[in-house]
Amino acid sequence: MNAVGTPVTRVDGPAKVTGAARYSAEISLPGMTYLAVVGATIASGRVTAIDAEAARAAEGVLAVLTPEDLPKIAAEPHLLPSLVGGPAPGESFFPMQDDIVQYAGQPVALVIAEEYEQAHHAASLVRISYQPTRSVTTIEQGRDQAYEADRLFGGLMPARSERGDVEAGLAGADVRVEVAYKMAANHHNPIEAPSTVATWDGGNLTLYESTQGIRATQQTVALLLGLPIARVRVITRFVGGGFGAKAMVWPNVTLTAMAARHIGRPVKLMLTRPQMFTSNGHREEQEQRITLGAARDGRLTAIRHEKLSITSPFDDWAEPATGVSSQLYGCQNYLGIHRLIKGNTMTPTFTRGPGESLGVFTLETAMDELAYQLAIDPVELRLRNHTPVDPFGNPWSSDGLMECLRLGAERFGWSERNPAPRATQDGEWLIGTGVASAAYPIAFFMPPQRARARIFADGSAIVQTSTQEFGTGVLTMATQVGADALGVALRDMEFQAGDSDLPNSTAAVGSAGAGMVSSAVHAAGTALREQLIALAVGDEKSPLHGAGPASVNVADGHLTSAERPGAVDTYRELLSRNHMSDAEALGTWRPPPLDTPHGLLTFGAQFAEVAVDPELGLVRVRRLNGAFAPGRVLNPLLAHSQLMGGMLWGMSQALLEGNHMDPRYGRWAETNLAEYLVPVNADAPDVHVDFVDVNDELVGPLGAKGVGEIGQVGVAAAIANAVFHATGRRVRSLPMAPELVMDPAAGGQ
């Protein structure tokens, strides 16, 4: 009886519905103190004076730290994505080392007090004088300083992608389509604010941290404080959402450790909601432009894809937007470039569906315009451009795009669609439907992943690795995988994570978590099973003595062999006979090499139906249907939830979420959940998810390609295409706020 593939409810469900699950700010330690961070109110310039007298005199205040009081960091941080497996600072910058202000909200002073209220009150008493200089925080302000980036992601990836001759391909095309969009900045806004509890024991530091990467946190803090990695332990029981905000390691973590060392007591920091807009990165303000060339039959002859965005003063960061547009469809001539403007913001960062969700938005709205121009059905146009190989001629590790488009179209009732824009009405509402392909790259930048499996004399078992639960369901999924690999019942298996002392697991980002963790856990469970089978067949007292190890099957802790009909041994009896109180094994999964001769994308297709109020510009999403081919589905209940959540994120990206800089002051206009819109229950329609079965033998022993991002990708395009179908107008900005749907000219075209 296999546990993998069954809809097991969350193993952490009872803890989460009773309030018993502890998140990082909910750790209580004797002598706990509270940290409040004072952020800069200017975007660029210098701190000329800090008057902390009143704050220091306030009741309960233990210390006010300014750059003068704070020790220097031991090494300069260099941004590198946490998926690489090493130190992963979110920006190549550490605050409070001098008097320079690089962005608004940058920490400039710290207050530590006995009580939470005392710390925050005293923080309001710190008087800071500034000498501001001119800041650049919007594309409009910096457009003339734009430059083409050479490499992205701390040098990890080239910023330019080119093949064939795109200009010749466009010149020779029968038809051309050019689209351009402005996209507002997005903020992750997990409901749990980034939280840290830091406590020192001699030279050993323990951090209770809300992170998507406990080993990345451990290594980053060790680097910045000049500590051996072995002296830093990171514990993360539960994380209240990440979405990329907690994928990298931001300065507040190390600052909390410094504060705790300074006063010699445990320190707790929970960022405020407004601080979350300036403390953990964001999806950068950007513009994208795509030019398509196609033959009369719809086949693409050229794609030119350009992105322009704002980065920080210290990093060439852009969410890579061309990974999908360069590969999704067969096309000989391609050019993708990223142009950047250095601005006074913190370094932007991964935000769910990083880069490709907006890259695919641009590509897939352009494809919709091409379909109209050629009078080809949009689903058919995509099918015609399907390619079985990536741009290097390598076959996909697994495909499924055509099946997703066909299945999604069938479930959605696409064939009944009248393609004419502004032709369908329901009372006052204009009705439209739209489609988009979805794809998301799979990246194997991670080092080997390890897990440990251990079985005890009573037959109960654990499997451990240093990952963390932030809502993906990893605790449940890994329990299922571990039980099957070892050959025990689900009730006898417990998966343990959330501690950097456990075997290595890399940060769960870019939809890589399920693949990495399931592969390592599978390896550990399998190694222990093989060890125990070898023990049994070599044990003279075992009913299976002398049987071929490969003939032995284990289920529910019972060992049987086709070579010994009727003979049964059990793990319990085996351990007992051999005077063993336990047995354990380490398992390692090595990712495929980066130059594996395979195309690596996860595929899907999105369908949306919208109703538009033409007078108010309101867009209501009536239906969202997604069909996805994510490889092996480890737990359909949890995979459905991940994909559903991603699709609603895509809806939010299309219609709700966007922040703008006030160019006069270089500060975000929206810094709370009343102004920065995220979906509430009434915004969210029911969502339909279908799976397309594909077998993928490359991505790991279980063939899981991940479901964290793919649900989001393509949704915004399907909705935008549906809005066009409903209204006959293209809205050229995201989010498609009512005032823009009402009057597209207000979008700043």
């Binding site: 409810t9 969350r10 952490d12 469900g13 009872p14 803890a15 519905v17 009773t18 309030g19 018993a20 699950a21 502890r22 998140y23 909910e26 209580s28 007298e53 009143a54 005199a57 306030a58 009741e59 009580e115 939470y116 209220e117 005392q118 009150h121 008493l125 806004n189 997990p190 409901i191 604010a193 539960f238 994380v239 209240g240 959402g241 979405f243 929970m270 405020t272 909601r273 932030f470 809502g471 369901g473 949890l638 459905h640 939830s641 991940q642 559903m644 959540g645 609603l648 709370n672 959940l673 995220v678 979906p679 509430v680 229950n681 009434a682 915004d683 969210a684 329609p685 029911d686 969502v687």
Partner: protein
């Protein structure tokens, strides 16, 4: 600049049927009193501004945002938090339904969702999906488990014999 000396006082609080006396400054919110002084961390701090609903508790049987309620103002009233919802090891039907319908992912907003969900039915605001959506819109779920939250509420509503 003068600083306000915030004298502490003893604040009796009746929580989940038990009487607690906490020594607090008058400015301490009910949410911080629960989380930082009573180690009742099931009620979550999401925004501290009354916008997200993750701190939802019941005061005298009504759903209330604990972050916008001073602890001192809750003194003398019956407070119920997520920790008081189950009957010993026996989960409340809404807690069971949230697990069964996978009505959460990260779990951080879940306490507030459940405290609201139980009341939405009692208030008579769970008659239709539209009603549930509207009257649950004070509780943000960033993982966007909303369709599953509605399913869990429907299940409890219908299991209760169609009362709404």
């Amino acid at each position: 600049m003068t600083t306000v000396e915030a004298a502490t006082t003893e604040v009796p609080l009746q929580i989940n049927g038990r009487r607690h006396v906490v020594v607090l400054e008058p400015r301490v919110s009910l949410l911080d009193a629960l989380r930082e002084h009573l180690d009742l961390t099931g009620s979550k701090k999401g925004c501290d501004q009354g916008t997200c609903g993750s701190c939802t508790v019941w005061i005298d049987g009504r759903r209330v945002l604990a972050c916008l309620t001073l602890a001192a103002a809750a003194s003398g009233h019956e407070i119920v938090t997520i920790e008081g919802l189950a009957d010993g090891d026996q989960l409340h039907p809404m807690q069971r339904a949230f697990i069964e319908y996978d009505a959460f992912q990260c779990g951080y907003c879940t306490s507030g969702q459940i405290m609201s969900a139980v009341k939405v039915i009692e208030e008579g605001n769970a008659g239709t999906d539209e009603d549930i959506g509207e009257f649950m819109s004070g509780n943000i779920c960033r993982c966007a488990a909303y369709p599953n939250i509605r399913a869990a509420i429907r299940h409890v509503r219908d299991a209760a014999g169609g009362r709404s």
